[in-house]
Amino acid sequence: MSLDNLKMTIERSGEPVERDGAAFDEQRRRWEQRSAKGRPRRGPGSGAVDRTISDVPLKRLYEPRDTADLDLPRDLAWPGEYPYTRGIHPNGYRDRLWTMRQFAGFGTAAQTNERYHFLLEHGQHGLSVAFDMPTLMGYDSDAPQSRGEVGKCGVAIDSLADMELLFDGIDMGEITTSMTINGPACIALAQYVAAAEKKGIPRAKLGGTIQADILKEYIAQKEWIFPPRPHMRIIVDMIDFCTREMPKWNTISISGYHIREAGSTAAQELAFTLADGFAYVEACMAAGMDIDSFAPRLSFFFNSHIDFFEEIAKFRAARRIYARHMRDKYGARNPRSWQLRFHTQTAGCSATAQQPENNIVRVAYEAMAAVLGGTQSLHTNSMDEVLALPSEKSVEIALRTQQVLAYETNVTNVVDPLGGSYYVEALTDELERQAESYFAQIAEYGGVIEAIEAGFFQREIAEASYRYQRSIETKDRIIVGVNAFVKDDDREGMELLKITEETERGQANAVRELRDRRDESLVPIALERLQSACADPSDNLMPHLIDCVNAYCTEGEIVEAMAQVYGRYTEAAVL
């Protein structure tokens, strides 16, 4: 539509009224003249006035011309309709709020179990397990690599015995559980299934998700165990197993959160995460699975950072890109396979150690962006997470932040309230364009794994994160309490949760005792069967893993057995 013959059609009492665009053009010219006289703001933060935190250039105003190319049925459609730009539910949050899911775990299984009971009693809908570093890396609590780490960043789970304690008194058939674990995800899933079945709850009744997104580990979070190719096989096995035997389980959660935390831009988070998702889709299809059998149970996990509109645009673009690729490129026919469902967590990397109470405010804005972007579930960070594990008090404030958002602000009353905003739609288009350009670059490497091996993602992220840090150093960007509005004694009065050395000693002793207590004859048999399955790609690993955990093999033992077949991954230097 050219400027000269711009016509606006306004629906007025059912009658379309044609209006000459000339008057509108005249108004625009007047605004352009008047706004051009304005002097850009000076001083701290002014260097970033014309770009998002991801360096997407911004105009001073968005107006109808910026959405002129938008094809409404093709690009926006309606909520609950392809390509789902406006959300996957026809009624948004009017029928059902998002799931408030706070990630928690620390110390021993018994300590974390107590926190879970607390959260469930305070109105939380689902559980989300944070494991400690040794568990995430496949080491038992008594391994030398675990010294100083046991129970620090999450709960220590060495064996099925710990998993049973973790869910003691909790109805695993009623709640849904999200488990954030990747390298040894197949083992944690086996433990979860075994723990439930020991309580008499069949695996088919279990609801929840396990992250199991190994590609983003090589890209960003670095919690890998085996090299990429065998790891992909393990994930395909998990997806296949869950598709057949755990119909309520969301098989994997493809995560951009950690990519963003590693310092990426919004566009990188979007593009790399979706590229990972498509890589899993391709791997499952290559293994002979029907896309519509598994795609409806794939889900995503994004970061919600502090650049409000950019984040909303990112979520909307994610849905649209995913729908288009799933339908048109991969040929999915079930609409549920086209729908990108996602969990969101507010950005840990946006929190500051200085004046930690300010983080409550950041989290509130980030949570609102996630909700306006249409998230299915949300974790709000606690203000003190940048200092230590969250205290009970700060976890409660974080949960209350979501409740205020859900019940007081009324942002949930209207479906996709920002749809049609010139700015949000233009930014959504821009993010889609940037993502497609990244897909093309990844394809040039030959795919995600090849791009990982070439260090492509790692280099892109390292550069973006350095650029961002520099903009803070130069005060082009302002972080309140960090490079402006600074005050002394900015961390006073915080009560921090500490994990003691006793936890580590206790847990290490517990796993040693377990090895003494269990029926030792079962262990080598289970591990040997697992190893032969590892060497045979036609044999699904999951049943063998469930046998191993039922024999009370520890996580470290299982990982070691698998590593003997698969090897362990080491990263190429990407600086």
Binding site: M133, P134, L136, M137, Y139, Q145, S146, R147, G148, E149, K152, C153, E217, Q221, K222, E223, E261, A262, G263, C349, T352, A353, Q354, V386, L387, A388, L389, A462, S465, Y466, Q469, R470, E473, I479, V482, N483, R491, L496, I499, T570, E571, A573, L575
Partner: protein, 142 residues
């Protein structure tokens, strides 16, 4: 301009210990020190205190910067200090960063960690610290 033949750039080992893979901070520091004209040896992830100290010795580093975000700092920092002493390498400037509560940082300084930087510390402060302290070490040891 610096004479890069006679006047060797300062050398710093940037290390990640423990099991956490959060290397954003370590990499940003490594780049910042490089851009400040230093030679930075990056060890990669998951290093043990023994590996870190051995690296610093072979690389003849003026300083070691250790990043830990997993909460294992009270275990791993003291082990590096101990290793440095055992190897008669106490002259190497040992500093660190991570999610470290103030009281822990104080305790670590008392143990012999020269400085602890927490999230949000300006890069320039870190560069200035390294330049000053490693410069002193260089002047002494040559």
């Amino acid at each position: 301009m610096k004479n890069t033949v006679n006047d060797r750039p300062l050398r710093v080992v940037i290390a990640k210990a423990g099991l956490d893979g959060h290397d954003r901070g370590a990499k940003v520091i490594a780049r910042a020190l490089r851009d400040a004209g230093m030679e930075v040896v990056y060890t990669g992830l998951f290093q043990t205190p023994e590996q870190i100290v051995q690296t610093a010795i072979q690389e003849d580093a003026d300083g070691i910067g250790l990043s830990i975000l997993s909460g294992a700092h009270m275990t791993l920092f003291p082990l590096v200090v101990e290793q440095l002493r055992a190897q008669d390498a106490g002259d190497i400037v040992f500093f660190g960063g991570g999610t470290i509560p103030a009281e822990d940082a104080q305790q670590l300084r008392e143990l012999g960690v020269r400085e602890i930087f927490t999230p949000g510390a300006p890069l320039q402060d870190i560069i200035d610290f390294v330049r000053r302290e490693c410069g002193k070490r260089r002047a002494l040891v040559g």
